[in-house]
Symmetry: C2
Subunit: 565 residues, 2 copies
């Protein structure tokens, strides 16, 4: 293979025997295969070395983290810096495994290609194994040896179908033993875990375990999740967030033009993101909807479902006075998990449903506390029935199954009927519900995600080459041109805190929630009243891969980096 | 204003005082404003003349059409051909009204811009009025005088928000009188009606009426509908179909990659198109789903809901034997309207619900005929309840409200449970439902739709300039480069047939349904078994506006024109 790096960061050209992929490609997919990827200059150079920073602590409860990770706690983060001569053994062939863990995010394939290309370039003759179907592939030793031909059809493509992903966790002592057996059998020098907060916590536990047993296998994590809730100073963004938000924003923008053209629908759009509301906030910044609900704000203000309904209804009434009987409303998937009174109702319901008979006459409701009774009565009948009838295998109410956008439409309808009767609302209201989710998880990665992921993969390869373990691949300074991006690894233990579960401390990387004093939320909060009553819709249109705007990163990232107003 | 045509067909550049549009534009939207539009060479040339063809007849029942349109019936269609000197009075200033009628379709703004630019170029000093909110704008004489500045922000943009649309019809003698008053008041030489089959029928009735009364106002139609069901030999496609199908196909392609990556979901995707299944067929040709239901085929084969369910379930079982417990299934919005037994059940239910009490014990069901009783029992409980409870203001069952994709998921689940019990199915099934609709109606028009619409508008202007009436703007030879596209007008009466309604003959332009012996369906039918069991997914990706693939038209059009295999 021709040199990857000396080629100015170009991807290797199509191998002669490529094209064995079962799929058929569209013109756009094909055009992406040979898309020229830029690399940070430190990775493009002839050589670089790894410089360690000061010792690290933990995000919280350092004493407990130190006990949980006695072999890793306190280790420094690392930076790659240019060097005249490579300090690494370029003759040494590495054996590296890679696994995709959890839900899909655009760019995962490019991380794998980055690892592969790094090793081909800097440690020729190295081997990369792709574990199939997520962490279960490690435990069951199911893998494929990656080759130039094998990975070519996945370059710059969406999805995780190269080696698939899975949601299994390596948790029990038996499972850790299975992982040890696999990395021993394959004689792995390194393992790269591409995943979210849980998977990177797991990666750190594996790193700690391997080091404790004096095994040679090092473990490096990579930050993946469209939800955007795995990030810190050194890891400014998780990959996939950029692409997913742009796909959702395309759809939202189209629906906005539709709303303005017909003038008769309120579109209630639910967006992915069960924990944090980053996706919803980013889509709001991209499209300027009339109403946006942010879970973290609802929780901080201890809002009730009635508060939320009234907030929406008030704006609908004000808009109607201006002659606008249409609009667009964004709702994060996890909204009702943020409403304290809903949590209370659910826990009471679980208790009652486990022990009591739900009589048709409704006498059972008297067992609810008065606040929960009021809330239950406020809910639309369909939701009431869903709460009582649809339960998970443990008999618990399935909150996740509630279609929040439809529930809100019904609650707003009921409130508007009251106001119509009272003569305070004279408009007409028609709600249309949407859920944008799966469409965004597997799209073709944007130029930003494709480039970012390739660098993350390159960095992971370099960190393993340098013998590092327990770090997460970190590419930063992302508001600058790609050449100036910084590259390194952040100590996973430094990102950790503990949670008490079943009487024991468990290490966790806390999800990065929307910060109400952060730049993205502040900008949104300053503008939302203007967006509410006037129509300031922006329609971002389909993601473009060519042209001046095709490299622009998302608003959240740029605002957090102080790179745009 | 600088010459439009001498400028090689470029759009006029941004006027000095433009930018008064209330919206804020994304980079992609902005980049589209000055997108260079090509024109067929006959429209680019210095001059052209209009050549009439032979006299025409009707699509059916010519005697009745002749009676309904005594002043228009038999008139020839026209072609524009290059000429040395323009035969038109270039000094004559025209007054032309334009109206958008019915649901939105990407490209409508460009039709208006085409009319405007034609008149600015070839009949300088002409006036174009945009009627606001659809045909109601004509009846109420609500309009805006279009200017270069006013229309600029809508060039190549999606939606109908420049002048909005509406679904009102000009039907009663009073309404025809209102239309006469308006065109008289505005002294209109011409009126362009941009709409679907109904709206173009209406346009022809207006043309007939104006001619009968010796009024000077001529009427020209333009073929608009994302459903793709307004077409004939001279009008190979309605605008908006291309863009909408590409937007839906982007989403379907993403969901396919998701399905293949996770390996555990069957995605049931409902697509717009209540009458014809063109959108579903086109999306299938673009993406190669495992299962595609085409309403016209279901009707032709007189399939039952059980047949449809079994067809899906059989493929799911066969795929499961190959280890595939995932897939993608496309369903046209209007599917159940094509199933004869469902129509029968609905009509019996309407009868029973109007006159009888629906007892909880279910005795009322004995009033159903035995086939309808069986069908009713086959339906999932939620659908049964929806049929009984949700009725329109006339008390009729609301078929349109049934979420077909969710109904099919439940029916397939029930059938798979039976097969699991019988030991003939050992897979696991999880259905995910999607409806792609509003997202596609208002997207930024593709290069094809933008160019096609601009030519349609230019042609409409030219036909009015030539004094033509009762024609639909016709741009054909669309598989060739734009320069070679042919331009003309087709007699609307030639596209008409009659339907008997309330004892009277009503003129209709029959919807063009999917032809089961046509090239698009034949290609699909030849490949679908291969797509069913193997995975031949194609992910078209987001619409690109730059690059070699950005001008490719949709498969349906090219196949119908014999331009691709």
């Amino acid at each position: 293979m021709a040199s990857v790096l000396s080629n100015g960061g170009d991807l290797p050209s199509k191998p002669a025997s490529a094209g064995r992929h079962a799929g058929v490609y569209s013109e756009v997919q094909t055009s992406r295969l040979d898309h020229r990827l830029l690399l940070p200059s430190v990775l493009k150079g002839a050589a670089f070395k790894v410089v360690d920073g000061p010792g690290s602590s933990a995000a919280g409860n350092p004493d407990e983290i130190a006990k949980l990770f006695p072999n890793l706690f306190g280790q420094p983060s690392s930076m790659l810096v240019p060097a005249d001569v490579s300090p690494f053994e370029t003759d040494r062939k590495l054996k590296v495994g890679v696994v995709l863990s959890g839900g899909q995010a655009p760019g995962g394939h490019n991380v794998i290609c980055g690892i592969y290309d790094y090793l081909q370039e800097k440690a020729k003759g190295s081997t990369v194994y792709g574990f199939k179907g997520g962490p279960a592939g490690i435990m069951r030793c199911k893998y494929v040896a990656l080759t130039t031909d094998f990975i070519y059809p996945y370059r710059n493509q969406g999805g995780f179908d190269m080696i698939r992903s899975g949601r299994d966790k390596i948790e029990t002592p038996e499972q850790f033993k299975q992982a040890e057996d696999t990395v021993t059998k394959l004689d792995l020098d390194g393992l790269v875990v591409i995943g979210g907060d849980d998977s990177n916590t797991n990666a750190c536990l594996l790193a700690e375990n391997f080091r404790r047993k004096n095994m040679k296998t090092k473990v490096i994590g990579c930050p993946k999740t469209i939800d955007g809730d795995l990030k810190c100073k050194e890891v400014p963004i998780s990959f996939g967030f950029d692409t997913a938000c742009k796909i959702y924003s395309e759809m939202i923008g189209n629906v906005m033009i539709d709303a303005r053209s017909t003038g008769k629908y309120y579109h209630f759009v639910r967006l992915m993101g069960r924990a944090a509301s980053h996706i919803t906030l980013e889509c709001a910044l991209q499209t300027h909807p009339n109403i946006t609900l942010i879970g973290e704000e609802v929780a901080a203000k201890k809002q009730t479902l009635k508060n939320v309904t009234d907030y929406i209804t008030d704006i609908i009434c004000k808009r109607s006075e201006r002659g606008y009987n249409y609009g667009v409303i964004l709702i994060p998937e996890g909204l009702i998990d943020f409403i304290p009174e809903v949590q209370q109702l659910i826990s009471e319901l679980n208790e009652i449903l486990a022990h009591d008979v739900v009589d048709e006459g409704g006498l059972w409701k008297q067992k609810l506390q008065s606040q929960s009774q009021l809330l239950f009565e406020l809910l639309p009948q369909a939701i009431q029935e869903q709460l009582l009838l649809e339960r998970d295998p443990h008999g618990n109410v399935q909150v996740a199954k509630i279609e929040t956008e439809k529930m809100l439409i019904q609650m707003v309808e009921a409130e508007l009927e009251k106001r119509t009767s009272a003569g305070t609302y004279k408009g007409h209201f028609k709600g249309q519900s949407h859920f944008f989710g799966y469409e965004g998880r597997c799209g073709l990665p944007t130029n930003f995600d494709a480039t970012y992921c390739y660098s993350l993969g390159f960095a992971a390869g370099a960190l393993l080459h340098a013998g590092k373990t327990g770090l997460i691949s970190s590419v930063a300074n992302l508001a600058a041109p790609v050449e100036e991006w910084t590259v390194g690894g952040t100590a996973l233990t430094a990102m950790m805190d503990v949670e008490r579960r079943h009487g024991k401390f468990k290490p966790v990387i806390k999800k990065a929630m929307v910060e109400l004093d952060g730049a993205p939320f502040s900008k949104f909060a300053a503008l939302r009243d203007e967006w509410a009553l006037n129509n300031r819709y922006i329609s971002p249109g389909p993601i473009q891969f060519i042209g001046p705007s095709s490299y622009a990163a998302n608003h959240t990232l740029l605002l957090e980096l102080g790179a745009c107003a």
